[in-house]
Symmetry: C2
Subunit: 211 residues, 2 copies
Amino acid sequence: MGSEDRKEREKLEMRQLIIKTAMQLFTQNGIENVSMRAIAEKIEYSPGSLYSYFKDKGDIIHAIHTEGFKKLYALQKTLDGIGNPVEKLAKMGELYMKFAMENKDYYDLMFIAKGVGDKIFEKKEWDAGQRTYDYLRETVKDCIARGNIINSDVDAATFAFWGFVHGMAALIIRGRCAMMPDEVIQQTVKGSLHFMNTNLMSVEQRVMSNE
Amino acid sequence: MGSEDRKEREKLEMRQLIIKTAMQLFTQNGIENVSMRAIAEKIEYSPGSLYSYFKDKGDIIHAIHTEGFKKLYALQKTLDGIGNPVEKLAKMGELYMKFAMENKDYYDLMFIAKGVGDKIFEKKEWDAGQRTYDYLRETVKDCIARGNIINSDVDAATFAFWGFVHGMAALIIRGRCAMMPDEVIQQTVKGSLHFMNTNLMSVEQRVMSNE
DNA sequence: TCAATTATTAAACAATGTTTAAAATATAAA
DNA sequence: TTTATATTTTAAACATTGTTTAATAATTGA
């Protein structure tokens, strides 16, 4: 009778194995070049078996998607200790870009890929994304409260920041900067982050934050 | 003997017809829900025929892609008359977002879709994209020259602006703002554009550009 | 051990992009 | 016009995709 626990555990382990394998193949061959058959073959099961653990391919992708958001949020939480919201905002931008550049496949799934976006809002799992956004929003709010960002609506400013970093990440990941060599891209991103973080703040702050 | 001209003309017309039909179906059913068979059926040809006019599906997409860039550049040129680079930059941002929102399928192909990005840089056709970018860059350069954007590298600032607008567009088009109603999104974009255009400029300009 | 539930599989299905060899058509020369 | 040549167009097939189904194997509880 107590084997139900074990069974459930095994089912979960199998799910984990599938997710892990899928992610491996994704990063190896690109997300759309991975078939259900390929995943099945790698774990030495038949293709049909995958459908006992996931409703369809989108469901696997969605699981990876959720994992990615957990990763990002965990990273974001490392900024908790920073008191100055301006500094926090700057670091958050760098961290976000670092995450995107070092986990291009995760990032692609989370913020760019099609067919995922629609599914997100069905479940409560969007929470992970919402938390990430709220974290940014709170920081922007603090900046405004302290007068470091002036004359602005919180939501407009937050979306602007998000758009800015996402835009850079998306352009790079989807190969729209391929005319530049990698090192130039990296340098430019760094410069752009610096540009935003110094020039968007009010003058007093701008002077203060000159390292 | 003089029928060669006509033949070539007909071939071009056929290409145009295919492109037009493909674009119609793309906007109607979403880019990835359009098969070669569907395109062929709509123009009442067999699927195989398409391959006499285009190397493969990617080639059709690429043709549409190029068309999109021409459209965008034509739009951009309407800003030629604006002397003040700050105002020009502001209008360019609005125009870019307007184009993206009103031509989501074009925009997707041009700046987001996968499999297109790689092909762009093969041919000289990237010129269309480059021109668009250079136009932005020149405007940013002028802003810096006039002291309206301070303390900044041209390329970093240009990329920041591009990233900013592209980020907003990409997030919306790929359904990452689906938790907000459409009208809220529009309002926020407007606010974000305003936020950037007022707060990124140096104080003197900021006061002057208060309409 | 035996019945019942569950997991797994092989096979098939429909749809995709693409290729190929044959048929239809158009062209140029006789 | 007739004939030979080149070009379009097509039907059919191929390989690959995600997914479903009905049968098989394995596991479970009694």
